[in-house]
Symmetry: D3
Subunit: 167 residues, 6 copies
């Protein structure tokens, strides 16, 4: 399988009145849609094929985004499996008056590459060069590991309750 560097996909947007609640704070869901779009471009471009969102992890809204802010969304493939990719997405908000920039949101998106029949297919192997790329790779592995642990613990909790004597 081909080896490949991952490109950063950038997208600037302006936050509009319809994107926000009554306090003027941007809806998480609107931001998620922008992050997913940017991540989908990063994943599809890396894989050279359509890619669909399989799950998201660790999506944290650290600082609120306000109506009128300019937001820069950046997405890059940071980890790859055989047919899946982890895309890290960061959002930076810029206040149009003070020009102050704040790191507002971060998330990990899992994408699966699909062939023409919609079946998962192999993706190129990822070339890691800088220390930052190695760190992002390692963090993505922690994120994946915790998701697997969580799934197992939830299953155990469900089984335990199902086996419990009726109240």
């Amino acid at each position: 399988m081909e080896k490949k560097k991952a490109e950063v996909i950038q997208s600037w947007e302006i936050v509009f009145p319809n994107d926000a609640n009554q306090l003027g704070t941007m809806f998480g869901g609107r931001l998620m849609a922008i992050m997913d779009k940017t991540a989908a471009i990063a994943a599809s471009q890396y894989a050279g094929r359509p890619a669909v969102t399989a799950s998201t992890e660790a999506m944290d809204f650290i600082h609120p985004v306000k109506v009128g802010d300019r937001i820069l969304t950046q997405a890059r493939v940071v980890w790859v499996g055989r047919t899946s990719m982890v895309v890290k997405v960061d959002v930076i908000a810029e206040n149009p008056i003070t020009h102050k920039r704040v790191h507002t949101t971060t998330a990990y998106f899992n994408f699966v590459a699909l062939d023409r029949d919609g079946k998962p297919c192999e993706v190129p192997r990822l070339i890691l060069e800088t220390a930052e790329e190695h760190q992002e790779y390692q963090i993505a592995e922690i994120v994946k590991k915790k998701a697997i642990e969580r799934k197992r613990h939830i299953l155990e909790a469900k089984e335990q309750q199902n086996n419990a004597p009726e109240k």
Copy 2:
């Protein structure tokens, strides 16, 4: 603090060509926006105040949703802290020809209730009655615990690397 039951918020939608990629599969981000909207209504209504998305966990796209499908999104507050709430969201897709329903997506949204100044404020305590409500509460706790563990492991990995001798 007042005690309260949590209501289920339902929302039906139709999936349109613009919601999907070239394989006719609905974008994750479009679905996230619908889930967040429904979850925000559930959280705001429960809290009796505006509520903003703080993070999402365990968002799993189990089955693809297709153009033309009807989707039913259901959201309910399943866990509450002092100022925060966990909203569980499920999406069911209905094929318009076969009428077959599939459970396609599940996610946990963390919301924070805000007062008039945009500061976090207390929410009612949650009344749990059925076995299912108790189970959902317990699962939300697992989800939260794993998120905290993940945060700690990521911090440790970053510190370790920063302290490592320069390559």
Copy 3:
């Protein structure tokens, strides 16, 4: 022909600045689009086939809806003919501060079920059980009867004028 109960289709939405005029009052047309979408899901699901809007009757905007309100739209098939269905739609608005709910809008939508060639086709017969279901059925018949009378009176007025001596 199969007999069937009609399900209630619910849809929650939030009213945004773009949905309203300068007085902050929601446009009727925006609400109509939401009502038609919800009614179309109710009709298509009942018929088990695509269904298209043939006409609307008695669409009354009783109370204004305001930006920031949460609105619950509910639709149910209340009357069926051979290939047509009447869907009653109600909209309830919830003030996000006072939590007061008001019944704001009501309407009757006529849908026709279509086969693969876009031709009208038969729909299941409707099972009526509760007193409310019988009343809704009866009201739908009044609505239909008045629409037929109106059509006839308009035709008569047109003919009368066309036959009148030139002024």
Copy 4:
């Protein structure tokens, strides 16, 4: 009160994939939103004030509109009361290949003019000149009369049932 002629408001649109169901037929609700927007401009311009939709009557979807069609929506105030106006709306669809035009939809919208406090306020009296304007006025009166009859018959049906001996 001032007397005034009513202007025709025209609006051309193109029908997009997102406006239609799987048979390629435009959703009624999408068309209603366009009709209401055009009618609101006609009513507000006539009244010289904001105007809100109070009800719609006799909305008939005579011919289906298809994806790719160009549609011309025309709205004009045809009847006025003290604070209310009836706007007649017609939609003509033009096939982009055959250039054939079809009259697809017709509806009567009732609008109420509002002052700065959102209270109903007086509108100019309508100047009727042509035979067509007189006919439209007369038809609007029939439409209004039938709506009043319908309201009364529905009320009677409800009272009759409420007074009926319990089953």
Copy 5:
């Protein structure tokens, strides 16, 4: 080739909060999208075929448009070549309180008519009758001539610089 008169295509819109920046001034891009849509209908209808935008010239935003304004967009084919058309577009804004109308925007759009394979194809010859139509035709020729000159001057500047000795 057939000869033909060009029809005026009109489109009324209301300016919404999402269409504007923080000063309440409508984005140029939103207006361009409305102008292009209206121009595309004028060109396609004139050509009797799909027509695509090849370029725009002399797009001038003379007066700002404000949230709440009603805008009337008017488009008409004013010049035709063998396969191309020039569509002049004007936008008039109407203040909803003062009812004052201002000519806010003007632009020239070049469209090319396409056959079924997406290849340019011939359009009808334009019938010019009024003095205004002759003037618009003459102005369109000036606009085209200046665009050709500009293209040539830019090319010359590029060549000159490429041939300049390295600094």
Copy 6:
């Protein structure tokens, strides 16, 4: 006045069915809206203030963009006057199957910076460093010069006609 370098603003988008005509070719107007949004961010960020579109010049759609293409829009301030800026915008389309990139569109946008009262206000002086930046500056001057010439020639044509003896 402060001197400043101009940043490149990037924006990635995916082309959807609703963005295109029946031949699957993206509407010029949809692309203009994306270009204007990206240009507005570039201009506002450079000026450190809101900036509004005053005119566009030389907007050329060189290659058609197709549904499913990924498009990269890039905007940068290339020329500044006292209160106005010229932003050059380029659009590159990437075919999702072949990954071939094509330069599809180019345009020059004139923006004016505004103070809190909506009056034009001074912008920083532009630092030009690379040969490319000098060339872009020179081309922007040609574009401006031709726009001024065009305006004068159109005025002359209008006067000439007005002074012509009545036909």
